[in-house]
Symmetry: C2
Subunit: 209 residues, 2 copies
DNA sequence: GGAGAAGTAAACTCTACCGTACCGTTTACT
DNA sequence: AGTAAACGGTACGGTAGAGTTTACTTCTCC
């Protein structure tokens, strides 16, 4: 109560995000969204013209949210190899985070019905971070564009995808709670990441040796 | 018409598989299943006691089907390196096949509601083939168990997962039709697979050196 | 303080779908 | 041929959910 206008709209949107992530698109009912937002369906439909449009806006919100949790590799340390390791670890952790996992599940489930939203999500969640990593590699290791991208692709492929598939299918449990922007959970195996980085990258070029 | 007993049951099951893969669990209606199978709901419920049970049986069927399409690496040629390449190619192709992709989408979407089915699917679709590959590597290259598994993991990780995620999110189109058990589609990039194999495996040990 | 915009609450329409019941017909088996 | 089980078609009960409508209240701004 006391929420009006854009403030109410925003409140509904965030509530809808929770419900959609919890239930999936089909099982989410507009009555439940209204009830959870402690508002009325009348107001709900005043701000969002349909369930599908509401879902579209939620997808946009979630995309921004998840993207905001990953910085550029440079933010994770001065030593390039270690920065890459921590960046990959954060990337993986971001994906295994409960809420992101649910989002991805729903995105995959609805990929056929909402192809543009799914493609945009893929761009935001996988390609953009990978590009950031590639740029960092080019800059720090003096690689050419192509091999920078190739190595970034392999690092991500090795650090993220196998574990991600396992979690998507529920073989491994997701990470609970809401990780902040820098912490690395114990679940992330940094040692194997270091091994991957050591195997794929020269032992640092910019500064020493 | 003229289908009775187990034959009708089987027919309904296969029809239900098509409908579930096309629509997903929630959007599939029992009326449509009955209509598509050219039978009545009466008969449908005579053979399957509920929608959920029918879906469970469909999951089992699909698991068998998809697994049947992948042989052991030895079936793909006498030269170990090339056999591994073709095995990985087939593995990827199997996953990108339209029907398998839809199955995986639904499995991921329902992973939370049906955890044991999703885990069994992961086992059948990813772990079993990977284990077959690892066994083959151990046998052909004289590797110890652990490095055999590790290399198999990396090969699969590099050959399958990134492309799979793209297709799951609809960024790339799935392969149409129903591939037979040996053909390799043109969509599968064998060259990059050969490069990966060359990088990860010694140039054959068993025979020539 | 009053008009109008914005919000609440609850009933309502309409459609879809799960599961069941009825009834007439076909098939398999003796 | 005759019988019982299995099948097709259709209609129905009950529930649920997307949007809409109506009637009433509260907030905001002049």
């Amino acid at each position: 109560m006391a929420r009006r206008g854009d403030q109410l709209r925003e409140h509904i949107l965030w509530t809808a995000k929770d419900v959609f992530l919890e239930m999936g698109y089909e099982r989410t009912s507009m009555d439940v969204v209204a009830a959870r937002a402690e508002t009325s369906k009348r107001s709900l439909y005043a701000h969002f013209e349909s369930k599908e449009r509401l879902f579209g806006d939620v997808v946009g919100l979630v995309r921004e949210l998840n993207l905001g949790h990953l910085r550029t590799p440079a933010a994770y340390g001065a030593d390039p190899a270690e920065a890459v390791v921590r960046f990959c670890g954060r990337f993986l952790q971001m994906q295994l985070w409960d809420s992101a996992l649910r989002t991805l599940r729903i995105g995959i489930a609805e990929a056929e019905r909402l192809p543009e939203a799914a493609a945009a999500y893929h761009e935001a969640i996988f390609e953009t971070p990978q590009r950031r990593l590639a740029d960092y590699l080019v800059e720090q290791y003096g690689l050419d564009e192509e091999s920078g991208h190739e190595i970034a692709r392999r690092l991500i492929g090795r650090a993220v995808y196998p574990q991600l598939i396992r979690s998507l299918l529920g073989v491994d449990a997701p990470l609970a709670g809401r990780p902040d922007e820098t912490t690395l959970a114990d679940d992330v195996d940094l040692e194997s990441l270091r091994a991957a980085v050591a195997a794929l990258l020269p032992p640092a070029v910019g500064h020493a040796k």
